[in-house]
């Protein structure tokens, strides 16, 4: 079939796509920052000896991991306000993505925490640090270095998940692409360009995270 590609309409709106991409990145980074905090607290819950801390944490992780994120997004955007929780589009999306990633990161962090030798904690105790100080100065910094590779793959999949924000009209990359489609009906060209932008950004993100890993890796 003689479909001829014509990208000129897409290039005209290219800056919209770039702004969308930027927002996608912001959403992903915002979500992972909050998600990391949630994940960290949950992870300590998961490894806790007390059932009161462990059970809710485990429940949260199981439930969230088994729910489609789109359902979560729609739920928190359309249904939560009925329960009196009203957030703007972007806030609602970032919060949802954070809660979603928190469940995944909790598992990652849990493994990271368990991999820290007990001796290091004891060495901290022996010089008189309190358990809290040991957590903040030794356990968490070390754990983060250990889980950096998983953290970067989580960031990348979160970045891809930001495309779902289009469902609630957050003007990120996919939303912009769909808008351009409606305006220009250059569907093929738009999706090719959008996909390339996603792939390129993922590649760059991965490379950046590897650089960070190399910087932070503990020299031997």
């Amino acid at each position: 079939m003689g479909y001829t590609l014509n990208f000129s309409a897409v290039w005209r709106s290219f800056d919209q796509l770039l702004w969308g991409l930027l927002l996608s990145l912001e959403l992903a980074i915002g979500a992972i920052l909050i998600g990391a905090v949630i994940g960290l607290v949950t992870a300590f819950g998961l490894i806790s000896k007390s059932g009161w801390a462990r059970r809710p944490a485990a429940l949260y992780v199981t439930v969230i991991r088994n729910l489609p994120i789109l359902v979560l997004i729609l739920f928190s955007y359309f249904a939560l306000p009925q329960m009196g929780v009203r957030l703007g589009k972007i806030e609602s999306f970032v919060a949802t993505l954070a809660i979603y990633s928190g469940a995944y990161l909790a598992e990652v962090f849990r493994a990271g925490l368990l991999s820290i030798p007990n001796g290091l904690k004891e060495a901290g105790l022996a010089i008189g640090l309190t358990p809290m100080q040991i957590r903040t100065s030794i356990v968490i910094p070390l754990m983060f270095r250990n889980v950096l590779p998983s953290l970067s793959s989580t960031l990348i999949s979160l970045f891809k998940d930001t495309s779902l924000a289009a469902a609630i009209a957050v003007p990120e990359l996919t939303f912009e692409a769909r808008k351009i489609n409606v305006e220009t009906f250059r569907v093929v060209e738009t999706w090719i360009v959008a996909s390339c932008l996603y792939v390129a950004t993922c590649t760059v993100l991965a490379a950046l995270m590897r650089m960070v890993e190399r910087r932070l890796v503990i020299s031997r």
Partner: protein, 256 residues
Amino acid sequence: QDKSKLDEVLERGHLVLGTGSTNAPWHFKSVDDKLQGFDVDMGRIIAKSLFGDPDKIEYVTQSSDARIPNITTGKVDVTCQFMTVTGERAQQVAFTIPYYREGVGLMLKADGDYADYEALKEAGSSVTVSVLQNVYAEDMVHAALPEASVDQYESVDLIYQALESGRSDAVATDQSSLAWYMTQNPDRYRDAGYGWNPQSYSCAVARGDQDWLNFVNTALHEAMTGVEFNFYADSFKTWFGKDLQPPQIGFPVEYK
């Protein structure tokens, strides 16, 4: 030299209609899972003109932003999905004649503090209006109620919820939606009796097929003014709760 869509549809024996499934009273599912609504009836009018049978339709449910791509990529013969006619869109698809003129209206609680639009306007800044979130929402409300404060919500059910719970004094949104909601909840709400912000709804087909466009136009036109008027009027009554006056007989109303 290409065959017209009209011939293609006739040959196929049914119409492929693009519309949505999640917006009452335009296009939504009945309890027994049938697609229904005013948009859907427009499609049925076209099908009836084609085959003498309004049910010869294959529905393609689509999200709002899929309306134009699905036309341009030929996934549907025609889309009827409360599509607001704008010049920009008309450069990409061919619009039929409009089948409805939408406006924004105000809905009040039947037993509320304010009787009608005048009372609202008088009350000035002490009135709160709930509207759908939109860049123009504030301006839109202020065009009618310059001093009212505006609360924006994300979905239709929420603006109703706001009115119901007393967080707002009035709801401002499409008149058609208001009308539908009021028929669903009889005696609880009241129309404030003021409309503004007009826009036309049309079906749309792919550009460059005048035969097909003519056909759809004719079908819709005759439903609003000619032999199929009763079909249109029944539908109008069902979804908007209003009886239409039959078109005046004699000199065609269009040329008056």
